[in-house]
Amino acid sequence: MKSVKMSRRTVVAGAAAAGALAGASGASAQGAANVLRVVMHSDLRIIDPIWTTAYIVRNHGYMIYDTLFALDSKGQVQPQMVDRYTVSDDKLTYTFTLRDGLMWHDNQPVTTADIIPSIRRWAARDPLGQTVMGFIASMDAKDPKTFEIKLKEATGLLIFALGKPSSNVPFMMPKRVAETDPQTQITEFVGSGPFMFVRDEWRPGDRAVYAKFQGYRPRSEPASGLAGGKVAKVDRVEWRVITDQQQAINALQAGEIDLIEAPSHDLLPLLKADRNVKLHNWNVLGNQYTLRFNHTTAPFNNPKIRQAALYALNQEDFLKATIGDPEYYKVCKAMFVCGSPLETLAGMEDKLESNFAKARQLLQEAGYAREPVVLLHSTDLQVLTNLAPVAKQLFERAGFVVDMQSMDWQTVVARRVKRDPPTQGGWSAMLTSWVAADILNPVMAGFFNASGDRAAFGWPNDPEIEALRARFARAGSEAEQKQIAEAVQRRVAEAPTHIHLGQWYQPGAHRSNISGWLEAPAPVFWNIEKGRGA
């Protein structure tokens, strides 16, 4: 047994070495062997990562675009395209210098003239971007390599925002592209990232193909998270669409593909049993299930009733029902994610324990008139399908009247932005999942935006939370941020904007001849090597 392990390890090592050589030389000597065939969690249809927040498009962005700053594996923001930057003593003036050798895929040099419109376009759409924009007085290019951002008042968010790891990521695009109206999709796909998008091989519903960009100049540091040197070690990456989870697994085991971003949890036992396949938890921060209220209509326009829900639910049931294997979920009452700097239990101690008695009592006090909770149930996304039924059962046992309506995810997405009363195609509650990296603090996490009509669907209106978020944006020190975050969480425990239903982890799966998959909030394909055999 042991000897087997040994021998396999040595094989892999050898393969890795070979791969490394090939990758370094960039030669496609190994031909097909150097093509990485991947099944992503969904199909790439839209390809403007600024225009949409869909995660698949974000992943596409990381393939072909580069960022000014990036989050490393320790959650620290590191310069990426930026070589170095200075901050004036009054913390109001930032001066950035781009590193040498940055090239667009059309072999034009990257200049500050490209950078500034890129930031503007991103900031026009991203919530965090909008907040930060509120602080920015001006952005000016000093010369092709250096540019300067002046703030109205100090904020700790600027650098963090520019290194925002997940949707929407501030990707840098060429000037002509970046100047596209934010409301319109871009039509040209030239980036400066380690891979190039092979447009004429892109067949939506079938495959998207990326080729190594020979002109990419990686940073010298070793790759870490989204930061460090982005060394492409395969010539081609093909995103294959296999809609049927079972079939994706079959294909991986049959060696027809090399890697699955998000295999269904229930099928993991199959993969664990297969010595040619390895599992890899690439997103260490994981994800967070979330229940979103519609604050504009009964019953959830009443904070007490929302709190009753908070008492009625418990994370374990949701996690069991969807993930099942405790190895891949974690009960976590911290809204800003367990294992993150802002982790706290504040206000949540007695909540999320399925305390139906308490819930009933609150409903009574709130004078709940048995208005039905219209619960949107999406039936076609594996990781979400089982959430709504659990919520329904828990709600009902707490005395809610629940009308669960099943539909495909696309319809949910369409329904949840409708503000009509539930009787006329509106809704009361829906369930979704966030990538932990998107919700690390109250400003970036969209669901905390409580600015009423301007807030995301659900439209919470809570001046207190808004005040706290404003303060957070200005907060200088970690400590101050932490203290505000706790305040926010306490407030939410009283008048929930949404309910966090626990953290879960999505291991990826790959053939054992694949190595070098980085741990990061998003799946990235630089640094991945493909050895021979297996």
Partner: protein, 313 residues
């Protein structure tokens, strides 16, 4: 003949028009909002409204219809809401797998089913008959996807004879193309084998009771030749018809089979498009399928003349 074809083609116009109207209305009344889907998960209401206007979804329905109809007549199928591609591009790059699958399925079905049917008819009432008919009934009764999974499990996973999924373009060599289609085609053909075998049996049975069969026997003709020279040719018309009808069914079956074997064909394009409310794509595909259907019927009718000299147009 020619004028008949012309007349038939002319007759398809109202049909396709009805289809167009029905499909268009159906889609415009669906609750799903493509704009919201395009905008993505964290989009605000305003962003979605902007997109709706961009897609022309804010126009009055009637206007939308005529705009669309106009462009169709100009041969322009419009552009997908999602993919930065024209519907025409999308369909044309998806058509090969579907055609291949359909073609192979029908060939397979015909080759297997007709001899079975004739045999069953000739041995009517014997165990052979019952076995064939039994199989055909079962063929009707098991959902396509179940058959698919079973075949995959046995022939792809356990035996490893065929790939689990995916489609190899014919440009990449006939053998890999064929190999990638064997399982899907067989999965899909089961129901047609059943269908065609039954029809062959019934119509051959009918023919066998005809006088000219007796005449042939009275000439001293052997049974085999009586069956295949006299009976089958006369039984051909209904068989051809059912094969034609089969094609209509086929289109439905393709949808499922393609998603089981993740074959990037029109079937899956349709499902994706419907789930995504990609109106232009759905409309175009359904129209296309309908046109194919009508065309097939015409071809079937014309093929009658080959099998039966009495039929002239």
């Amino acid at each position: 003949m020619i004028s008949y074809i012309l007349r038939r083609l002319a007759a398809t116009v109202p049909v396709l028009f009805t289809v167009a109207v029905m499909v268009f209305l159906m889609l415009r009344l669906t609750p799903g909002d493509p704009a919201a889907i395009i905008a993505g998960d964290n989009a605000t209401t305003q962003q979605i409204l902007d997109i709706r206007t961009k897609l022309g979804l804010e126009e009055p329905i009637l206007q939308q219809f005529f705009i669309w109809l106009g462009s169709i007549l100009r041969g322009d199928l419009g552009e997908s809401f999602f993919f930065r591609k024209t519907v025409f591009e999308l369909i044309s790059e998806r058509i090969e797998p579907t055609l291949s699958l359909a073609f192979l399925t029908i060939v397979l079905a015909v080759v297997i089913a007709i001899p079975l049917g004739v045999l069953a008819a000739y041995r009517q009432g014997t165990w052979i008959d019952r076995v064939v008919m039994g199989f055909s009934v079962i063929g009707f009764s098991v959902p396509v996807f179940v058959i698919g999974y079973l075949l995959i499990y046995i022939f792809a996973i356990k035996l490893g004879w065929f790939p689990v999924q995916g489609y190899q373009r014919i440009s990449g060599g006939v053998f890999p193309w064929f190999r990638s289609l064997v399982l899907p085609a067989f999965t899909l053909s089961v129901i047609y084998i059943a269908l065609i075998a039954r029809m062959t049996r019934t119509s051959v049975l009918e023919v066998l009771s005809e006088d000219y069969i007796r005449t042939a026997r009275a000439k001293g003709q052997t049974e085999v030749k009586v069956l295949f020279q006299h009976a089958l040719k006369n039984a051909a018309v209904p068989i051809v018809t059912v094969v034609g009808i089969g094609v209509a069914l086929l289109i439905g079956g393709v949808v499922v089979t393609e998603s089981v074997y993740s074959i990037p064909g029109l079937g899956r394009l349709t499902v994706d498009a419907v789930l995504a409310r990609d109106f232009p794509v759905i409309q175009a595909i359904i129209l296309a399928f309908s046109f194919v259907y009508v065309l097939i019927n015409l071809i079937v009718d014309l093929s009658y003349t080959i099998f039966d000299p009495r039929i002239r147009y």
